[in-house]
C-alpha cells in the first residue's frame, strides 16, 4: 500500500475532498438574506470536471491495473474510467441545471451540492465495485443522498411523498439485494465477484443457494434500473423531486445501476450454467426487457405531465438497454459496447430534455404539464429549440446520439439471432409509440395556444442552464454525427471487461 497506489483512486478522492470542502464553505458562509453567497454550483462543477479529468488522465496514461488491495474492492479498469466520466458528466449537467433552478425558485440551500457530490461518489463506487461489500456501500451511499435530494423541497407534500416512496421501496429492494449477496456468500464462500464467479464455474458452489442468491440480487438491481415490474417508484419519485434532481436520478443513478449490473453479470455469472439462454438469467432479462419496453412506452403515451412522461420514458429506455443485456452471453464485447454507448448517449439526451424543461419555467410559473408548454415555441423559439433536439434524440432520430444508441442495441440483438430478433422487433415497434409522445411536446410547443386563464410559463434566464444546454446539445449532435470516437472508447473499455 503506497501513496502511488492512491493515484488509482484519485477521481474518488477528488469527489470526497471536494464534497467536504464545499460543506465547510457552506458552513462558514455568511448567513442572512442579503449575504454574498459563494457560487457553490460553480465550485461543484469544477470538482466534478476535475474528477472526470483525473479519470481521463488515468485512461490516457494507460494505467488501468491497480494494486490488488484496490482491485479486489474497486475496479480500476477502462470500464470503470468510462463510467467515471459518464457519471461525473451527468452529475455536472445536473449541478449546472440546479445552479440556475435553485436560484430562480428561491430554494438555494448549501447542502444540495455536497449531497450531490456524495451521491455521485456513491454512484462511482457502485459502478466500480468488484465486491458485494462495495456494491452495498456504493448503493447506499448513492441512494441515501438521492432520497434526501428528492425530499429537498421541504414545503412540498409531493416532494416528501416522492422521497418517502422512493425510500421505502429502495430500502426494501436493498434488503433483498443484500440477502441475495449473503446467500451467494454462503453458496461460494466469497463476497468478491471474481471469487463468486470462479466458485460458480468450478461447480463447487451450492447450486440452489447460488440461484436463489442470484435471483434476489437481480431483483434488487432490477429495482434500481427501474425495470418493470419493479419500476413503480420511478414516476412518483421523478415527479416529486425538483427537476434538477430528476435529471440527476435519470442519468447518474441509472448509469451506476446499469454499470454494476453489467459487472456482476459479466464477472460473476458468465458461466454456462447461470448464463444459459434457456434457463439462466438471460431468460429472466428477456422477460424484463420486453415488459419494460412495452409498459414504459404505453404508460408514457398517456401522461399529461411532461415530467412524468420523461420518467416513463426513462423506464422505456431501461428496457432498450436490457435488450443488450440479453445478448451478453452470445455477443460479449459488442453487447457491452452497446450498453456503454447507450448510457453515454442517454445521459446527454436526458440532460438536454430536463434542462429544456427547466429553462421553460420560472418562479411560480414552472412548466410541468404539456399544457404549460402550449405556444412556447412561437413566443420563444430559441427556448424550444433544445427541447426539440432532446426529444429527437430520445426518440432515436438520426443524426442524434439517441439514434445510434438505439441502433447499436437493436443490432446487437439482431446479431445474436434466434429469439433475440423478436425482442429487437418488439423494441423497434414499441419505440414507435415513443415517436408519438415525444412529438407531442413539439406539437404543444408550436401548434397549441394556452387555454383561457391558464398561467403561462415564462422562460427563466440563467447562465448555468444555458451552458448545460449548449454542452449537452453539442454532445447529442457530436455523438450523432460522428459517433466513431465514442464507440472506439466504449469498445476499448469493453474489451478489457469481457
Amino acid at each position: 500500500m503506497t501513496a502511488a497506489d492512491m493515484l488509482y483512486l484519485a477521481p474518488l478522492l477528488c469527489l470526497v475532498a471536494g464534497g467536504l470542502a464545499i460543506m465547510l464553505v457552506d458552513a462558514f458562509a455568511p448567513k442572512g438574506p442579503n449575504a454574498q453567497r459563494a457560487e457553490l454550483a460553480t465550485l461543484t462543477t469544477v470538482v466534478l470536471v476535475a474528477a472526470a479529468g483525473l479519470s481521463v488522465a488515468l485512461w490516457m496514461k494507460g494505467s488501468t491495473r491497480g494494486p490488488e488491495w484496490i482491485t479486489s474492492y474497486l475496479a480500476t479498469d477502462r470500464v470503470a474510467l468510462f463510467f467515471d466520466v459518464v457519471i461525473c458528466g451527468g452529475t455536472a449537467f445536473a449541478v449546472l441545471l440546479a445552479g440556475g433552478y435553485l436560484r430562480e425558485h428561491e430554494m438555494e440551500r448549501g447542502e444540495f451540492y455536497p449531497l450531490v457530490l456524495f451521491s455521485a461518489f456513491g454512484a462511482i463506487v457502485l459502478a466500480r465495485s468488484t465486491d458485494m461489500l462495495t456494491v452495498f456501500i456504493g448503493l447506499e451511499t448513492m441512494s441515501l443522498g438521492v432520497y434526501s435530494l428528492v425530499a429537498f423541497r421541504r414545503t412540498s407534500p409531493r416532494s416528501a411523498e416522492g422521497a418517502l416512496k422512493y425510500f421505502l421501496l429502495g430500502s426494501f429492494a436493498a434488503a433483498i439485494l443484500l440477502f441475495g449477496a449473503a446467500l451467494l456468500y454462503g453458496a461460494t464462500g466469497h463476497t468478491d465477484l471474481a471469487g463468486i464467479g470462479a466458485a460458480v464455474k468450478s461447480g463447487h458452489a451450492d447450486t440452489r443457494l447460488t440461484v436463489i442468491g442470484l435471483l434476489l440480487l437481480l431483483v434488487g438491481l432490477a429495482f434500481k434500473v427501474s425495470a418493470v415490474p419493479f419500476h413503480q417508484w420511478t414516476p412518483d419519485a421523478y415527479e416529486g423531486a425538483i427537476t434538477p434532481v430528476t435529471a440527476f436520478m435519470s442519468v447518474a443513478v441509472k448509469t451506476a445501476a446499469f454499470a454494476v449490473l453489467l459487472r456482476v453479470l459479466v464477472v460473476a455469472f458468465s458461466d454456462p450454467l447461470t448464463a444459459s439462454v434457456s434457463t439462466g438469467w438471460p431468460a429472466v432479462f428477456a422477460a424484463l426487457a420486453a415488459l419494460t419496453m412495452v409498459v414504459g412506452n404505453l404508460a408514457a403515451a398517456v401522461q399529461t405531465s411532461v415530467k412524468r412522461m420523461l420518467a416513463y420514458s426513462s423506464i422505456a429506455h431501461a428496457g432498450y438497454i436490457l435488450v443488450a443485456f440479453v445478448a451478453l452471453p452470445s455477443q460479449g464485447e459488442s453487447a457491452v459496447t452497446a450498453v456503454l454507448f447507450y448510457l453515454a448517449a442517454y445521459t446527454v439526451s436526458n440532460a438536454l430534455a430536463f434542462g429544456s424543461l427547466i429553462l421553460i419555467g420560472s418562479r411560480g410559473r414552472e412548466a410541468v404539464s404539456y399544457d404549460d408548454l402550449a405556444g412556447i415555441g412561437r413566443r420563444n423559439p430559441l427556448v424550444a429549440l433544445p427541447f426539440i433536439l432532446g426529444m429527437l434524440s430520445l426518440m432515436g432520430f438520426p443524426p442524434t446520439a439517441g439514434f445510434f444508441a438505439k441502433y447499436y442495441v437493436f443490432s446487437v440483438a439482431v446479431q445474436a439471432g434466434g429469439g433475440m430478433v423478436w425482442l429487437a422487433v418488439l423494441g423497434v415497434l414499441s419505440s414507435v409509440i415513443g415517436a408519438y409522445y415525444y412529438l407531442r411536446v413539439v406539437v404543444f410547443m408550436f401548434m397549441k395556444e394556452p387555454k383561457e386563464g391558464q398561467t403561462i410559463a415564462v422562460p427563466m434566464k440563467s447562465g448555468y442552464v444555458v451552458i448545460a444546454l449548449i454542452l449537452s446539445a453539442y454532445f447529442v449532435l457530436r455523438m450523432g454525427l460522428a459517433p466513431g470516437a465514442y464507440l472506439e472508447w466504449a469498445l476499448e473499455a469493453a474489451k478489457r471487461l469481457v
Binding site: 460543506m23 457552506d26 458552513a27 440452489r208 436463489i212 435471483l215
Partner: protein, 119 residues
C-alpha cells in the same frame, strides 16, 4: 436438471407463507381480553404518568439521530484498536483520515446550528 430448482421456489414460498401464518395465528389465536391496565404503555413497572400521546419536541429527534450516527461510527474504532500494533503507521493515518471526515461533519452540524437546543 430443472427439477433441481423447484425446491428453491418452495423455500421462498414457504418462508413467506410461514411468516404470514405466524402473523395470522397471532391475530386469530391470541386471546383478546383488553383491560384498562393492559392498554397502558409499559414503563418498566412504574405507573405511567401523563398523556400517552404527548408530543415530544422535534429537537429530541435531531439530537438522538446525531448521537446514533456518531455513536455507530465508533464501531470502526474497535477493530483498529484491537489490531493497533499490527496495522502500524498506515493504520494510524487511515484512522486519522476517517476521524477527520467525522470531525468535518461535526463542524458542519455545529455551524448549521444542529447542536443548539435553543435557537
Amino acid at each position: 436438471m430443472l427439477s433441481l430448482y423447484l425446491p428453491i421456489l418452495v423455500i421462498l414460498l414457504a418462508a413467506a407463507g410461514l411468516a404470514t401464518i405466524i402473523f395470522t395465528l397471532g391475530v386469530v389465536l391470541g386471546p383478546k381480553n383488553p383491560t384498562a391496565e393492559k392498554a397502558l404503555p409499559y414503563e418498566s413497572g412504574s405507573p405511567s404518568t401523563g398523556a400517552r400521546n404527548v408530543r415530544l419536541s422535534i429537537k429530541f429527534y435531531l439530537t438522538a439521530i446525531l448521537f446514533v450516527i456518531f455513536d455507530i461510527e465508533a464501531v470502526f474504532l474497535y477493530p483498529w484498536a484491537a489490531l493497533f500494533r499490527r496495522l502500524g503507521w498506515m493504520g494510524l493515518v487511515e484512522m486519522t483520515l476517517f476521524l477527520t471526515v467525522l470531525v468535518i461533519t461535526l463542524v458542519y452540524a455545529w455551524k448549521k446550528g444542529a447542536l443548539e437546543w435553543e435557537k
